[in-house]
């Protein structure tokens, strides 16, 4: 699953029990099936009753992502996410105290090794000795491990879809169980967020480096996107890849990860949603028994850096062996800004469905592109982000032609050429998409947890549609004129070295 969490908000929506489309007045019908409560420690839970089948999906949504990471530790949000599958003092170990002692020595040795390796003139002999010491403690700690016990407990009891994601804005943990086994989920979730043990930490970082090679280094699209964000942003941490820069993944220690965990994984920064065939009162009792024990703590800090105004258009080209790709992005606003809805509708009108402007012209009529997409809220939406256009040119089509036509279509939006029918259609499809999303426990739990965590209430998952409905043609024209301007733009591409060479010489 590769999902930008803010996009889920688009398909976001509702429990429309009877009406054809989801409207605000139907919130009452939805609310009848929703129970929410906050524990004394600040943890908020949302229970959605959906007794269609005897199963339930459990989601823990944490309002922390790549954007919250400190210098030297990009990727640490994701590293912690991996460590949250390694167990606790009770799970995954034969002898926690002995293991803990070895783990601490292992991390101390790694920190000493790191420090030496960063010194101006590293002492090779000392480096070797420290590395040996590190490996010795790693092996010692390994003696106590019950490998993958955490996952085994879940999988053995019939857990499916065990996974997690980290995005620029958020981290989410989820799986589904037979509905009678909720107690297992509460117990395990409390274990991993009260006393996580970072066993196999440095081996898991190797796994994460492989993940980086797979998603970014060895993928043309991955390389393009990483370059794109780092060029588009000067100061704001949206410039950093969620997976982390390779040197930061290497530099991040257990101690760094623990500090990050202790700062951000506090009950007031976490939202739980459970959807399925469950009894809210029983869930409440289990929550108090297990999750009530998570200690309350200071709410984590927010990002203070504000991206300064861009002083002019930015452009970059990556020469590759692969076929060309095009991306352009304009600085816009965060999800809580009044213009966010209009930008959302503009992206829908431009590229969603076969009647959309970019599809019709670029894919269908002029056959310039194999695919084209416009979207808002990239790479996140908690802070001001980008309105992006992305195109996969057809064979033989020049990138200049792709860019020219995209600009022409944006100019039409600025000139007010979008028709009311197009806007109506976009709203209708957003509402219908919402209805279609209601038949998934996972979709419901994730969307409602996110709405609560990022916008203050689960109802926002539905009332958001009313914001979309309120958008006018004037709004579309105004946001296009305000944000989609050259000086606010970053344009990037992959060009094929052979094609460029052949054409240029």
């Amino acid at each position: 699953m590769k999902t930008l969490i803010s996009r889920i908000a688009l398909g976001l929506a509702a429990l429309a029990m009877s009406p054809a489309l989801v409207y605000a007045q139907d919130l009452d019908a939805i609310a009848e099936r929703v129970t929410e409560f906050t524990l004394d420690n600040g943890l908020h839970l949302i229970i959605i009753e959906r007794p269609v089948a005897p199963v339930a999906t459990f989601v823990t949504f944490v309002n922390v992502g790549g954007v919250d990471e400190p210098v030297n530790n990009t990727g640490v949000a994701h590293i912690f996410e991996h460590m949250a599958f390694k167990g606790s003092r009770n799970i995954g170990t034969r002898d926690w105290e002995a293991e803990q002692a070895a783990l601490e020595k292992m991390d101390a040795a790694y920190q000493a090794w790191l420090e030496e390796s960063y010194s101006s003139q590293p002492d090779e002999a000392r480096l070797d000795a420290l590395w040996q010491e590190f490996e010795q403690w790693q092996q010692a700690a390994g003696e106590y491990i019950n490998s993958e016990e955490f996952s085994q407990l879940i999988e053995r009891e019939g857990g499916v879809g065990l996974n997690a994601f980290t995005s620029a804005d958020a981290t989410g943990y989820f799986y589904s169980l037979p509905q009678n086994k909720a107690e297992l989920w509460f117990y395990l979730e409390a274990e991993r967020f009260r006393n996580p043990v970072f066993r196999e930490f440095y081996v898991e970082k190797d796994v994460i480096m492989e993940e980086r090679r797979m998603r970014t280094d060895s993928s043309p699209q991955g390389r393009l996107l990483e370059e794109f964000l780092s060029v588009a942003y000067s100061a704001h941490p949206y410039r950093n890849p969620v997976i982390g820069w390779a040197s930061d993944i290497a530099a991040t220690t257990m101690a760094d990860t623990r500090k990050f965990f202790e700062t951000y994984y506090v009950p007031s920064n976490m939202t739980v949603a459970i959807a399925g065939d469950v009894d809210p009162q029983a869930m409440r009792e289990l929550a108090e028994t297990y999750l009530g024990g998570l200690p309350a703590a200071k709410h984590p800090p927010s990002v203070k850096t504000i991206e300064p105004p861009q002083r002019g258009e930015r452009r970059f080209v990556i020469e590759e062996q692969s076929q060309p790709l095009f991306i352009a992005g304009y600085k816009t606003v965060a999800a809580d800004h009044p213009d966010a809805a209009a930008l959302e509708m503009l992206s829908t009108i431009l590229s969603s469905g076969r009647t959309s402007r970019l599809y019709r012209r670029m894919v269908q009529d002029e056959q310039l592109a194999l695919a084209v997409q416009a979207l808002t809220g990239f790479p996140g939406s908690r802070y001001p982000s980008l309105f992006v256009t992305f195109a996969v040119p057809n064979a033989g089509v020049a990138l200049a032609d792709i860019e020219r036509v995209l600009n022409e279509e944006i100019d039409k939006a600025k000139a007010g050429e979008i028709a009311q029918q197009e806007l109506d259609r976009a709203v209708t499809n957003a509402r219908a998409g919402a209805v279609r999303g209601l038949n998934s426990n996972m979709g419901l739990a994730l969307n409602m947890a996110q709405a609560h965590a990022q916008r203050g209430s689960w109802q926002q998952a539905f009332t958001y549609l009313d914001d979309l409905s309120a958008v006018t043609l004037d709004d579309l024209q105004r946001v296009a004129q305000t944000y989609l301007v050259k000086s606010n733009r970053t344009v990037g591409s992959i060009q094929n070295a052979a094609i460029q060479g052949g054409a240029g010489q």
Partner: protein, 476 residues
């Protein structure tokens, strides 16, 4: 093709693929779980029209939607070698071109104004048409759907569009490492000229005419080849009458027979390499031919697959990922095909430098399945895993209908799943070792590596003589 390419792929990361304590608390052993709630298995209404169309209906009032799913007995297996891609173009242009009454652009606006979805596609072993609509729009749009099934016009401009898109896909097919590996591995196992591994090429696209598309549609979308499932918010009797009325006009036609040639496979090892200088990780696939679904050992093989690679706690994940840290992605499974033999495929993505080590580790796990019987504990855990997830076989009313239709299409008995459950329950430790010895051939693996030769060096030579595979695109 509308939204298949997403640009946010790298912004969210998954743990995708994310024992016995002494003196530790193990409270989970004492959890007293309540009895599992029942799933009321809905009964399906099944009936057939004179023209051979078989309908499967079930009401589901949860949402104000109606979903129609047509399965069509047809597929790429019917297409001759010189026209590979004909079925895909037919499926695409059927929808994009529309009908005389509802040409493509008109159809698009009509549907999107009501947030209705109609799609058609044809794969290698079956075709499908789907129609998903708010229930209040069903009556208005049903005739449009039937018209689309019956009277697509295949206009030249949309055929040209589909051809251009396919051509661009061919031009891009070597950009993605995993796609290269998957495609070339099929060719290594089934052979270069097998219907099970052939590819669309510029030349085969050029051979496909509008007449071919019309003829392929004509023979496929007839009553005797159609099964139609309908779920959603409707009243049964009214719906039956409406379907009879709407679909009776479709001609019965002739039932198509899909013939799947045998695979003539010899167990010989080999090492194959594709050089891709723009990667720093090797994509490895290794294996040999697999088996058929009707094999009496199917259940034991499923247990074996789970031990090897089912979930985070499987052997490959535990050893190659968690303990050795050699990979984020590692997998392996003995495939059983309904129509033709599957493949036994294991694979890993690992940094160039550790390629040989990762391959050796995987082979070690394959051999371990043969050399040592799995423990009773591991068998029990694996069976529990399977049996406790049974409840997820049916998580909706629609899933019951889908299971029945796909069993019927494949010629499998309706209780196929229930039988599998019984058979899995009966699998023993000895069965797992026996099937591992009988069906796995670690001595005759074909190993394919798509990677960076400059970084890889001569690592692969320990596995045998390395054959370099040419992936240059004919006609480029």
């Amino acid at each position: 093709m509308i939204k298949t390419i997403r640009i946010w792929a790298t912004t969210a990361l998954l743990v995708c693929c994310a024992g016995l304590a002494v003196a530790q608390d193990r409270p989970w052993e004492d959890f007293d779980y309540p009895t599992l709630n029942n799933f009321d298995m809905p009964s399906l209404d099944i009936f057939e029209l004179d023209n051979g169309i078989r309908f499967y209906l079930v009401e589901d009032k949860e949402l104000p939607l109606i979903d129609v799913n047509v399965m069509v007995r047809t597929g790429g297996i019917l297409v001759p070698d010189n026209k590979v891609g004909l079925q895909a173009l037919t499926g695409t242009v059927m929808r994009s071109g529309g009908t005389r009454e509802y040409p493509g652009d008109v159809l698009n606006e009509l549907l999107e104004d009501r947030a209705a979805i109609m799609e058609t596609s044809i794969g290698f072993t079956s075709g499908s048409a789907s129609f998903n609509v708010l229930s209040e729009d069903f009556s208005d749009l049903l005739p449009v759907f039937v018209d689309l099934l019956r009277n697509p016009v295949f206009p030249e401009d949309r055929i040209e569009l589909a051809r251009t898109q396919q051509g661009s896909s061919i031009a891009r097919r070597n950009d993605d490492q995993g796609a290269v590996a998957g495609r070339e591995f099929q060719r290594m196992i089934y052979g270069q000229d097998s219907p099970y591994s052939r590819r669309i090429e510029y030349a085969t696209l050029d051979n496909i005419s509008r007449d071919d598309l019309m003829a392929f549609h004509q023979q496929s979308f007839v009553g005797r080849n159609m099964m139609i499932g309908v779920t959603g918010d409707f009243v049964m009797d009214e719906m039956k009458a409406r379907l009879r009325d709407a679909f009776s006009a479709i001609p019965a036609g002739d039932e198509l027979t899909l013939t799947f040639p045998e695979v003539d496979y010899e167990f010989t090892p080999g090492v194959y390499f594709v050089d891709k200088p723009d990667v720093n990780q090797s994509y490895v696939l290794l294996g040999h031919i697999g088996g058929m679904r009707d094999n009496p050992d199917y259940a034991a093989l499923q247990v074996m697959n789970r031990v090897l690679s089912g979930g985070f706690s499987s052997r490959l994940m535990q050893v190659v990922r968690s303990e050795l840290g050699l990979a984020y992605s590692v997998f392996g499974s003995f495939g059983s095909g309904v129509y033709f033999p599957g493949t036994f495929t294991a694979g890993v993505m690992t940094q160039s430098e550790s390629t040989a080590q990762a391959i050796t580790a995987i082979i070690g796990q394959i051999e371990r399945l043969q050399d040592d019987a799995i423990s009773e504990e591991e068998l029990a855990r694996t069976k529990d895993q399977f049996l406790n997830t049974l409840v997820f076989q049916h998580t909706s009313i629609a899933s019951v209908l889908q299971e029945r239709m796909s069993n019927d299409y494949a010629g499998l008995p309706p209780d196929t799943f229930e039988r599998l459950v019984e058979e899995v329950s009966a699998v023993t430790v000895a069965d797992v070792q026996r099937v591992a010895r009988q069906y796995l051939r670690p001595d005759a693996l074909r190993i394919l590596v798509v990677g960076n030769s400059a970084e890889l060096g001569d690592q692969l030579e320990v596995f045998g003589d390395v054959v370099e595979v040419d992936i240059s695109i004919p006609g480029n």
